[in-house]
Symmetry: C2
Subunit: 596 residues, 2 copies
């Protein structure tokens, strides 16, 4: 089963939901003309479908292999990576001063969706590099930027994020890796685990960003600094030089993303890995936070991407597999299973949530662009607040859905779904990491309730809710049953989210335990409601196009049907989390540890 | 991580929810004294924990292997199987006339839960054998029973069910395997796929039950007959004789249950496999249906079992893993993660649904016993109707939850959950087959709505709902907040299920497409509501025990807290499926095939 980039859906979400033209009009994005964006999307679609997607199963079967300290990529990956960077794809959203193309994050997000749908095991190297580039861009010295950014932005070198240690996962305060000053640099020692693409054979150098403690640093998070530790120390001419004292000592045997080596990295076995501090001492963790929005958005987009891939495969199977008669017709002849009610329910559940995610994900990317580029201070600030609020929702809700939708993809295949050759199971295995890494979904829910709602008492959320009410009002006056149903569901979603937000804001002050016990259901309610709003917004555009006979009527009709299914079938159980999120605190803490 | 049979919870569900003493009082179950049942549970707990559970990971890692036509079990499996049958465990619920112990299905179900929790890959051979024994017991001739039942009931021989062919999965009408009369037997030819334990090295003979067509049989299901095709033809003295013309030609590479060989079986490559018809010509499929209740209950119990295993592992990890401070306390010291709100929410979600499933599963097993043994005709009929109604709910809802709970088990482990060595991921991989085999969950939902509600217009369901109302009334007058909350949630569940049932019954007559589009949400609503009733019933018992200072107060308190969590957190989103189940039909059929 191949992957075909859903360009029509992607363009619709970019233009009609996320406001592509507003983003393209921001200062600094002058190159992002409509033609240019279209061309980029077309070419990315080709590369993802023709080069990356066919390697997805190879990557799963062969996996990355560690042999004598060298990690070998699965067959075809080195060549695909070369094609990828030769095409200039890695540089799309980055600073033109260092070789980037300076395109909007909105476009980069749409393109990212395609890479991750096509081949998540491959796509991970891009995400990690993006995070490392962001960190150096924001916090590096001019020299550091000049040395590393051009290589990393072109993709000749890749970056990693070295955070986790065995005793320090979600709780980075427990870090023990050390960095001792030694002349113009530091010597870094210690062990890091779960390092994605910590070692591989696709790039000529690997730039590790490492969190470590300096001597005499205070305990806890304020003692943590960030260091650049390249695999090969750069020569004065910029080429990779002497091998640094850092190595991959083992790779994990994982449930999925087999192509992506998850490394145990050992720093300083021969005395200390040479590293250079980024920014000030003791601010390592706060630097990490500055790049987290992009990284978490990207992981959320992986959830969307794997869901899209699973959906395409399931829909294709359902169109081809003949089994049993149509229950709604007298004809006893077996039909393709796409005629069966429950198969359709599963496919609609998949596609409606995929489109919902796509709208919300792209909307969030547009907010990031706006926060970076908008000429007006207040607009920039509002956009930043919205991005900050939406990021944990995107990361957690998308990745939960990615798993649910990949599981539905298996189910549509029946017995064949459980057989690895079919490929549906790989998506489920690959998807399972997403709710865990880059901050578990529990951490995201805590961030949403504790920091984001806590920060402004729900003010930013109320700004979004006001727009939901406005859309509902707009929909109400449009004739026809579909728009009336959508008006009702957007209004109900807005009111429910309003009540939930008010409760969470209050509980966050009065009873943090209760607020956190309800944080995961709150996040799901919020994600489902907000994405439903954007889906309805798209449906209204589709309706107006149908009326004005603009565009493909089948496409526009499908947008309306899909939004209505979402409003009538997907939304109600999510809104019914209002009671649970308020009451979970009553029982969640009631049992003693030993009663579990 | 080991498995410990949750004997206290199992006993509670048997006695207080499923009515163990009523079942034990049925004619024919005289041996099922309380002491005997207790002893059986204790010993099953030991065997499952000490022998079967330690082989679970070995089975996953090594898998079953096909070499030169022989399937080799993973290390230790042959010996474990020998211990299992030497202990007489296989014969527990079967007919004493053929060496069985004639114990209630209720007890067999509780014991089955333990085998499946301990080692699902191993446990599958038992389930398949059980199904084959049932078929021969109900439909075989006296000679067939005498030849096969003693061997199969002891476990010396195992059985298989050969149904599926590549073009005939859910739709068995498409079967092509042939059986041609040849003297006193038939010659069977054709290929079967997805044959669980179709070949293995743990038993001295394998008895294949095969669906095939006789010459001149009509097309469709009425042309299908059932045949016994043993791997070795029995000698007159009952020992395995000549090798039959049936072989395993390949085994599937699957997502999970690696220890269980899923075979492609080829019949008659050398002219025809010798087989004997069971029962009448053309009734093969109806014979299959008669044994489906037990088989589907058993698969549902696998969902419960894998959930219990995942829960035990997650709870143990959460009690041991230290990470981050307690958000509800000022102390900055990191604590075990079981203190964190969202970890607790996940554990409570797991345990409350596990206890809910156990209650409903055992209740259904008790109904099967009652339907078999009750001296009163009307009581037998009512019990059979209830079992028939509940079976698709148990099969589908339990197995969906098995997957959701295994996935939560991975999540509680964080990054370690994604690493195969931890073992949490195996449960998720193993669980994924459950919603597929023995009738996909979509087929179960169709059975529930189309046949079971369709048969009596919802009368049997209304009988259960009446008992829900009665419990709510009983709970209302009990003092205390917990019982009041449970009274409210049981009453709301009863009313919602009542409305949903009425709608489904009506739609089933008026618009079968709409009824089927809502069938899966209806099944989930029904399962969640009915199991909530039984959970509340148990909580009331626990409350009374607390008041009368009977039993372990911590155990009784936990039962109440768990039921309340379920009522406040788990139930509302499931009851909110009422709207979706009614409205799904409006959009599910709206898109053309090519719009997907």
């Amino acid at each position: 089963m191949t992957y075909i980039a859903p360009l029509a859906d992607i363009r619709f979400a970019l233009r009609e939901v996320a406001g592509q033209s507003d983003v393209a009009a921001l200062p600094g994005y002058e190159n992002a003309t409509e033609d240019m964006i279209d061309a980029v999307l077309d070419e990315a679609g080709k590369l993802s479908a023709n080069v990356l997607a066919p390697l997805n199963r190879v990557g799963d079967q062969q996996g990355a292999k560690l042999e004598n300290g060298v990690v070998r990529s699965p067959e075809g990956f080195v060549d695909a990576y070369r094609q990828f960077i030769d095409g200039g794809w890695n540089s799309l959203p980055f600073d033109p001063d260092y070789g980037g193309q300076g395109m909007p994050w909105l476009l980069a997000t749409a393109v990212q969706e395609m890479w991750q749908s096509a081949n998540m095991g491959f796509g991970l190297v891009l995400l990690l590099n993006q995070g490392a580039i962001d960190a150096i861009q924001h916090h590096g010295t001019a020299d550091q930027k000049a040395t590393y950014l051009p290589k990393m932005i072109s993709g000749a070198w890749t970056g990693t994020m070295n955070l986790t240690e065995p005793q320090a996962g979600s709780d980075l305060a427990q870090l023990r890796c050390r960095a001792v000053p030694n002349g113009d640099h530091y010597l870094v020692t210690g062990q890091k685990i779960f390092i994605t693409y910590g070692e591989h054979d696709m790039a000529e150098n690997i730039v590790h960003l490492v969190l470590a403690r300096t001597p005499d640093a205070p305990p806890g998070v304020r003692g943590i600094s960030l260091f650049i530790v390249p695999k090969f120390l750069p020569n004065p001419d910029g080429s990779p030089g002497k091998r640094n004292d850092v190595r991959c000592v083992s790779i994990e045997h994982k449930l999925g993303i087999h192509a992506s080596p998850t490394c145990v990295m050992s720093f300083g076995d021969d005395g200390g890995a040479v590293g250079w501090r980024i920014g000030e001492e003791g601010r390592g963790l706060s630097y990490m936070f500055t790049m987290m929005n992009n990284a978490r958005l990207a992981v959320g987009v992986q959830g969307l991407a794997i869901a899209e891939r699973a959906y395409q495969q399931a829909a294709a199977y359902a169109r081809g597999r003949v089994q049993s008669k149509d229950d709604t017709k007298p004809d006893p002849k077996p039909v393709t299973i796409i005629h069966h009610a429950d198969i359709r329910r599963m496919l609609m559940t998949m596609r409606s949530q995929i489109e919902a995610m796509r709208g919300l994900g792209y909307y969030t990317a547009a907010a990031i662009d706006c926060a970076l580029r908008h000429p007006d201070d207040a607009a920039r600030r509002q956009a930043q607040d919205r991005a900050d609020l939406l990021i944990p929702v995107v990361k957690a809700w998308f990745t939960d859905l990615g798993n649910e939708i990949a599981s539905l993809g298996v189910q549509v295949h029946g017995g064949m779904g459980f057989v690895e050759e079919t490929g549906a199971a790989q998506h489920l295995r690959d998807a399972r990491i997403l709710p865990i890494y880059e901050g578990t979904n529990g951490i995201q829910a805590r961030d949403l309730v504790g920091r984001k709602i806590g920060k402004d008492g729900g003010e930013t959320m109320r700004g979004l809710i006001a727009e939901m009410h406005a859309l509902a009002t707009e929909l109400e006056v449009v004739p026809g049953d579909d728009m009336a149903v959508l008006a009702g569901s957007v209004e109900t979603a807005a009111r429910t989210l309003e009540e939930a937000t008010a409760w969470v804001a209050e509980a966050g002050r009065a009873d943090i335990g209760a607020a956190l016990a309800g944080s995961a259901p709150f996040l799901r309610l919020a994600g489902t409601a907000l994405a439903g709003w954007l889906l309805a917004k798209g449906a209204l555009v589709a309706h107006r196009r149908l009326v004005s006979r603009e565009g493909d009527p089948a496409f526009n009709e499908a947008k309306i049907v899909t939004a209505r299914f979402y409003g009538e079938v997907i939304l109600p159980p999510a809104l019914a989390l209002l009671g649970p999120l308020k009451s979970a605190g009553r029982t969640v803490f009631a049992l003693a540890e030993e009663q579990f």
